[in-house]
Symmetry: C2
Subunit: 365 residues, 2 copies
């Protein structure tokens, strides 16, 4: 895919320091906003996107034309009400929707590709905080995110404790588990096994690792859904046929669905960005950043926290949220926690869920 031209973008005036030790000059951060910023700049909410998300939280995606990924949550009269709040969502650095990433031009005028520095969740947050600086927003009414967005929310709370009054982290974790890392490694190996990946130097070659990226997306997609949800939705139903074909076509609906998810993804996502962002997630361990004790990450925080998990989420199960809650309790932070019952696994945070809406609306205030 070609990088999309974002509608809003700032170039950071200062080089961005990175956890890897380098610093990155001329970083661009693409973002979208919804709703008006109050005169006192006190009504801003930063929404952080997930691995394959982007800044188009509540507006049409410029590549696919599909509605924003959280339109049911963000908008006029929605739980995050843009009649009252100024919502900001930035494409993460390392991404491919206008923020600086591996497809961006390096100082030598060629795409960074795999020369792009490996980034972390904290680096993404640093770029977001720099964006807030550029926008003149001192303190957020709230930072909100699900999945990798929740990691950013927790990281912002830990590393920039003065910048957000409320922290809402949904279906997330304070560290990637061995199983989480394992699934991501499968995806990376799938991309890198594709000869069209060309060691990452595929930009402008007319070839890109769509097959590998598609396999990566298929494997990941299974982890976003619950076993029961897949059974309810597809079971062993056949796809547009009355009986098995005794071949390797997509006989089963679930096969057809996965293939569609995989190939559709390659139309809108850059394979190298997938490598970098999954790496950032695997590196995420908020306790490790703070002396090995998660409570230390939140020591002295004045923010109010809300953690939400889903009982069918096996990617970041409830135990991971509880782990964060216990650390927040140990740190003396104000925290509420709810495990919601939902059939659809990790993806529940993106789906219709009235109880989630009530929790979000109640917490945001």
């Amino acid at each position: 895919m070609a990088p999309a031209a974002p509608t809003k973008r700032v170039t950071l005036s200062e080089p961005l320091p990175l956890d890897g030790g380098q610093s990155l000059a001329g970083v661009e951060v693409a973002y979208e906003t919804y709703g008006d910023l109050a005169a006192d700049r006190g009504n801003a909410i930063l929404v952080c996107h997930a691995l394959t998300g982007d800044q188009y939280v509540a507006s049409d995606h410029p590549v696919t034309g599909k509605p924003g990924w959280w339109e049911r949550m963000v908008g006029p009269g929605k739980p995050i009400d843009t009649n009252r709040f100024h919502v900001i969502c930035a494409n993460v650095i390392g991404g491919c929707m206008g923020s600086t990433g591996p497809a961006s031009m390096a100082p030598d005028g060629k795409p960074w590709a795999m020369r792009f520095p490996v980034i972390t969740i904290r680096d993404m947050v640093r770029a977001e905080v720099a964006l807030l600086d550029a926008l003149g927003i001192e303190r957020l009414h709230a930072v909100v995110g699900g999945s990798m967005g929740g990691m950013q929310a927790l990281s912002l709370a830990a590393n920039f404790p003065e910048r957000a009054a409320r922290v809402l982290a949904i279906a997330t974790t304070a560290r990637h588990s061995a199983q989480n890392i394992a699934f991501h490694e499968v995806g990376r190996q799938a991309v890198m096994a594709d000869p069209d990946w060309q060691d990452g130097d595929y930009y402008g070659s007319g070839r890109q690792p769509d097959k590998g990226l598609s396999v990566a997306r298929m494997a990941a997609h299974i982890t976003y859904l619950s076993e029961a949800g897949l059974t309810d939705k597809f079971g062993r139903n056949l796809q547009d046929r009355d009986s098995k074909t005794f071949g390797f076509d997509a006989d089963f609906q679930v096969e057809s669905y996965l293939r569609y998810q995989g190939s559709g993804f390659t139309q809108r996502f850059d394979a190298n960005s997938y490598l970098y962002i999954t790496r950032a997630m695997d590196y995420f361990d908020l306790a490790e950043e703070h002396g090995g004790r998660l409570a230390e990450a939140f020591a002295g925080s004045k923010a109010r926290f809300c953690l939400v998990s889903f009982d069918s989420d096996w990617l970041y199960p409830t135990a991971e949220s509880r782990h964060v809650v216990h650390a927040l309790n140990a740190a003396g932070a104000a925290v509420s926690f709810v495990e919601l019952s939902a059939p659809n696994g990790h993806d529940s945070f993106l789906l219709e869920h009235p109880a989630l809406d009530r929790v979000v609306k109640g917490f945001i205030g």
Copy 2:
């Protein structure tokens, strides 16, 4: 890999009828035996292997040189005691260790490759029963298998009810779920995405889809282990380094382990066999074969059944074994069932587990 020359092999005298409607002439079945066959031929136990297993259940693998895959269970004085029983294990058709499969020569003198007919678990069992016929074994003391081996054991009980007095099915299911199919489809797509797959016609080309097969194995391997088991074994430990490298090397032990599992697998397994055998598993639905009612599959069975599941197995969870047990109860069959506690997920059936040993020994008698 080159097909290994098996030590024991029969050529079936009759064409093998297949569920797909074709029949396959000249089928070869490679097998191993352990322990002496009694004069009355009444002490034979058929052990059925899993997806990536083979007939070398209790003897060194001819390609890898590693010990047999179930040496802790099968051998002199072991739970399946070869001082008392004559143990037979056959490579499934579709496999790559000497039984007829996609790497075998078709009648036109070229490898079958993807012209090989799609087979089912019942087809595998038909070949095994034909082997028993060739060996003059009328009735097995027991048929035993874990995972896909358990599917074969259940299929043999359902389709050839006179051929086994005891049926021991471990960590298995009577049907592949949507999630099971989904993971297999990811693996197949990974193989087929590899240009070295060459639509399956890679034999003799000097190139074979090792990268794709490796990714397939990595994805599957995660499903064989539990999240807790992975955390216990690897956690977020780094591999031979003190700190993250901020690169795409295998920083984490779990990444290194998975890569090793993937690449090692390609040394001993044929990619097309992987496609055919996973397809057979996805097609498996014992109820569907018997009018949609699983109890019908076991109607009138005189065999004794034993089902074993593991509480940490999320590939074929305990609920799937219970489902079989309920059907056996409804059919009036003699059945015992135990869920064992084990930390290591699906693979527990292959690992040291004294309680499993006692169950197997007790049931086999």
